[in-house]
Each structure stands twice: as structure tokens, then as C-alpha cells.
Amino acid sequence: MSMKRREFLKTTAGGAAALTVLRGKAWGQVKPVKIGYTLSGTGPYSVGAGITQGPNYTLWQEQVNAKGGLLVKGEGRRPVEFISIDDRSEHETAVRFYEKLMTDDKVDLILPPWGTAMNFAVAAVANKYGYPMLGPTAVSNKLKELSLPYFYALLAQPDPIMEAFVGLLKDLKAQGKISKIGLAYVNDLFGIELYNSATPHLKQAGLDVVDTKSYPLGAKDLSPILKGFKAAGADVFLGLTYPPDNILATTQAKEVDWNPAVFLTAVGTAFPFYRDRFKGADGVMGIAGWNPKVKIAGAREYFDAHVKKHQKEPDRWASAFAYASLQILERCVGEVGLDRKKIKEMLDSTEFQTVGGPIKFVKGMNVSTPGMVGQWQKGEFEILWPKSRATGTPVVPKPAWA
């Protein structure tokens, strides 16, 4: 710590701004801004938490503290201190710890846990104690129905996601590139919601679904479903999947010798891990939200900083939004201080510029970011749809499995 302080003083000694910050106080004496959260370090949620949220939290903290701390309105810069535990993917553990953070530790701000179900569980507590909570990994139509004024969702929700999926498929059908869809979904809140959103859109677009199958979370063999779709002559695999079964479906499609023109899966496809696991995964499509090629100020810098700090790339869906949620908090605290009511007012009324693009909340939902579809093409997850956000054009039929 003392080493850091010396380095800090050395590097900022010449800066007038820094001198103002430190006037009368040494760095170590400034009361830190306490931010609390839980993330799953163990259990089924740990995979997603360790890819999408954890690395962005620590990256942001490092960057902010390197600048001299978080700028708090009227107080100057204060270092950011995290208080966190592993919630072991258990909802009760997370809820209990958040309650402790807010009542016992009296943290200034909280960051959300990972995943839709976890956010559901914790949002109620955050609401009770009036802590704004910006969830970058919560996707559910039900969020709108619940009255949780302190909860904010950054990602496009099931409905807009399915709108994008179907928009692209309809366009491909009009070009005569596809005709029949085989639809599989994971029998879990997330999969069911996506499925319920998909059905009306598919019907409206006049797309022909030849077979629909569900499977349980943690399924160990999807080959019966894939063989069925193949036999029914489907040329689109529409998989409303979760990470482990997403990978299983991809592996097994190749193993049962099925290479449909469009292979479109949901969660996890945008992970760099997926690309590396399948030798580029060329042609596979999935839910997208971001890539380093988007024309957004700071996007490339964010990508490079993430790779430099963690030696791994951010994912191409929610990572940038996890970082964006921190940028939003940073701006709020800089402009209104740590009064959480005022932060909420600002969240409700401001459009924020982030590495994920402009974000504006209406009733807690980010209305600026549409649902998007991406496709792995030569190592990058190109955004295909909607066209206004596209960084590439669809390659259909997809190339043979690598």
C-alpha cells in the first residue's frame, strides 16, 4: 500500500488537480467509497460471473483508483474499496449478504450479482433499502411487471432479442436462403421466456417451425433433438440455450453430421471461450450486444484495457454493459454525490454515453439498446442485426464445422 502511495504521489505531484485533491490530506487518510457486492465464485453461476462481471468490476476499480479515486461531488476524489464475497450461486446467501452490506457495513453503493435469478432475488432487498442497482446480466420480461423502482436493466430483454432473431430470419427467408426452423429451448425461466417471446414473432413473420422441443437444464445428450430436426429437414437450428447445453448442442450437431444453413444459439455463444473451443466457430450465430468494432467512443480502449489487465477478451454481449453500468454510476456520483435518492433521479432522467453506446432508462429498462444477433466470422463476433448496428453481413449457409 505504501509503495502505491509513493508511486501515486510521484506520478501526480505535478498535476494541479491532484494537488487540490490532496490538499491537507494524505491519500491514505481519505475515507474510501465503499461498494459492496456478491459474485458467484463457486457453483453453476461462477462461469458467467467470472466472464462477464468480475473482470469488469476489478478493471474499473483499478482505473478509477489510478486516477486518484472516484470523483464525489463536493468532496473530490476518494479511493474505491470493494467489499465482496462468493455467494456460492445461492440466492439466500446473496440476499443475506446484501442485507448485511446495506444495514451493517453501510456501504455507499452496491453492484449487482450475476444472472437473472440472482438479480431477481437481490433487487427486492436493494429496493427496500433504496440502493440503485444496475444489472448487466438480467434478462426477463417479468422485470417490467415487478415494481422495483431502484432496479435498472441494461441488456435488451427477451422480447427485443426475439424481435432481432426473427427479423434476421425473415430477411434470410425472403432471400430464399432458409425455409424450415427447428426450435429447441432450455426448460428454465430464461428459456421459457425466450420461447414465449419467440412464438408470436415467428408466427407473425410467417416462418415455418417444423419441430419444437424443450430439454431440462443440465441435459447430457441433445443428439435425439438434433437428429429429429435433421430428419424433419430443418435448415435453421434456433436454440434458446444456456452455456453448458449451448456447447453440447454445437458439439453434437457436428457429431450427428448436421450442418444447417443457420445455427443460431442464445447464451454463451458470444463468449470468446466458445469461439476458441470450436476452432473459430465460423458461421455460428447468437445473441450479441457489442464488439470492439462498434463505432462507439471508448469501445476499443475498453477492449484493450480488459485484455491487458485480465489476459482475456471481454465477451461480445454483456461484458461491455457491465463496464457501462460502472461508467454510469461514476458519472452520477461525480454529478450528484453519494445521495442515493439523487442518483436514482439522475438515472431516471439522463441519457448516458458508455462503451456500450448511449443508454437511457425508462421505468428501469434500457430503451436505447436494441436486441442484436451476431455471427462468428474469422475470429470476431460480427453484429448482423438490426442493420443500424451491423458490423458485418450474414454468411449463410454457414461454413462446414471446423
Binding site: T42, K220, P224, K227, P244
Partner: protein, 291 residues
């Protein structure tokens, strides 16, 4: 029924069942013989899987050849664990219930230690590799080649163990202890030694299954527990301490699950397997092949 569907169900069922049989056999050796309900059984499977993953990805060792490492290494680990931990709590002459509850606590501890060790070494990220991930055409249907190989090896190991039990002197000692612990000891069989041996073999079977599974699924430090549960179902289905029971029980469970998936939907897989278990427990509480 169309013939391709029948092939799909039978071959698919044997593939799943072969793997269930091997992992259940290991658990049965521990539970059936020693009354050690090793809830960390699946964690050894997870460890075996990671070991194969590391050997394959770091040095390019053929996953099947890694069985020659994971098998003996886990057998050794089993012997040491038995000597250091289980032999102490399993003091002879106590009621089986006391042994069961103590060994259960010990195994729970082991489960957490192993999971967290794996977490430290390999992190929680999904890990996996492709091996023989190619289609294999067979009687008008198509199967993943790696699953066929994995199931084949699992069945071969199970049958080899069965022959070992039937033919070898040590095998006879194990069977004698299963049938009548006191009588066997009177005949001069060293209980603690055979227990250690069985514990080691049981764990080796779990780890070898893990090595095979690493060819098929993505790994996380938490993949073990569902296999422990499945193994327990198979052991109860086939009969406690019955080796043939575990083997056939595993295959039956695999067939039932696969048939339910093909004929109905994936969602009823668990309902079907627990349904069969309940039915057997009602009709024959000691298990299909239990005495």
C-alpha cells in the same frame, strides 16, 4: 416402431448406461462393502476429468492413454485417503449406522476440499476439448464416435473387474467380505487391507469414468455431484453390494432414460429414471439383484 428409432434407443441407451455402470460400480464397492457412503465419489470423477483435460491440452496426450495415468494415480490416492482418514473412523466392531454417518461427514468434507482445490487449479471457467468428435454411421443411424468409444471402454473396464472378482484370489476375498464380513475374517481375510484396496479401486473407477467423460462434456469443478446421485440410484436399483446388479442397473437406467427422451421428451428423463427406481423399490426393496 421404425428400425432406426430402435437402433437409436438401444445404442443410445447402452452408451449412457455403460458410463453409469462404471461410476456406480465404484460407489457400490465402497458402499456395499464398507458402508462408506462416499458423497465425494463424483468429485474424483471430476478430478479424473480435469487430469485428462490437462494432460491432453498441455502435452497432447491421447485422452484414452491418460487412463493409464488417472487410473493408477487415483487408485494410489484412494489407498492413501483410506489409510489416513477412513481407516480411523471405520473402527471395527461398531454398528453399521455409526460407520455410515461418520463416513458421510468425512466424505462431505472431502467433497468441499476437492471442489475448491479444482477451483484454485482450473478456475470456474468451462473447460473442454474435442476428441473423436465425428459422426459414426451404424445400422442406418448416426452416433458420436467419442461416445461409442467412451461407453465401450467403460463397459470393458466393468467386465474386466467382474472377471477379476470371479477369478482372482483377491476378488474372492472381496466377495467373501461382501457376503459375510465376520465369517470372512474368521477365515483369515484382512478386513482393513481389503477395504483399502476396494476404496482405491472404487475411486479409480470414478476417475477413469471422469477421463472418459472429459471427451464428451465441458468441465467445471461442480460436475461431480450429479454423477454421485446417479450412481446412488443405480446402486439401489441393482442391489447393495451386487456387482452384476450395478452393471445391469446402469444399463437399464441408460435405456429407460434414452427411451423416454426419444419417445416422449427430454424433460421427463428424470421422472422416468426415478419412476423406475420407485417401482423397483416397491416391488423388490432390496434392489433388482439384491438378496
Amino acid at each position: 416402431m421404425n428400425p432406426t428409432l430402435l437402433v437409436d434407443i438401444v445404442v443410445g441407451g447402452l452408451i449412457t448406461g455403460g458410463i453409469y455402470a462404471l461410476v456406480a460400480l465404484g460407489l457400490n464397492l465402497q458402499y456395499g462393502l464398507m458402508r462408506v457412503l462416499n458423497v465425494a465419489h463424483g468429485e474424483f470423477l471430476m478430478m479424473g476429468a480435469y487430469l485428462t483435460y490437462s494432460l491432453h491440452t498441455a502435452w497432447g496426450v491421447n485422452p484414452l492413454l491418460t487412463l493409464l495415468v488417472t487410473g493408477p494415480a487415483s487408485f494410489g490416492a484412494g489407498l492413501v485417503l483410506h489409510r489416513l482418514l477412513y481407516a480411523r473412523v471405520l473402527a471395527a466392531g461398531e454398528a453399521p449406522e455409526a460407520l455410515e454417518s461418520r463416513s458421510l461427514l468425512l466424505s462431505f468434507g472431502l467433497l468441499f476440499v476437492l471442489q475448491n482445490a479444482a477451483l484454485l487449479i482450473w478456475s470456474a471457467d468451462l473447460k473442454g476439448y474435442s476428441y473423436l468428435s465425428i459422426p459414426f454411421r451404424f445400422l442406418g443411424s448416426v452416433f458420436p464416435a467419442n461416445r461409442l468409444v467412451a461407453a465401450g471402454v467403460a463397459l470393458a473396464v466393468s467386465v474386466a473387474f467382474y472377471v477379476f472378482l470371479k477369478r482372482s484370489f483377491t476378488g474372492k476375498a472381496i466377495r467373501a467380505l461382501m457376503q459375510d464380513p465376520e465369517g470372512a475374517q474368521l477365515a483369515g481375510i484382512n478386513l482393513s487391507r481389503v477395504h483399502g484396496l476396494c476404496f482405491g479401486i472404487g475411486i479409480a473407477m470414478s476417475a477413469v469414468t471422469g477421463s472418459l467423460i472429459s471427451m464428451l462434456f465441458e468441465l467445471t469443478p461442480f460436475i461431480g455431484l450429479p454423477y454421485t446421485v446417479t450412481a446412488l440410484v443405480v446402486v439401489i436399483l441393482g442391489g447393495l453390494g451386487n456387482v452384476v446388479g450395478s452393471l445391469l442397473g446402469g444399463l437399464i437406467l441408460g435405456l429407460v432414460e434414452t427411451a423416454s427422451v426419444y419417445l416422449a421428451t427430454s424433460d421427463i428423463r428424470l421422472i422416468a429414471s426415478y419412476g423406475v427406481l420407485s417401482l423397483i423399490l416397491i416391488l423388490k426393496p432390496s434392489g433388482l439383484f439384491g438378496r
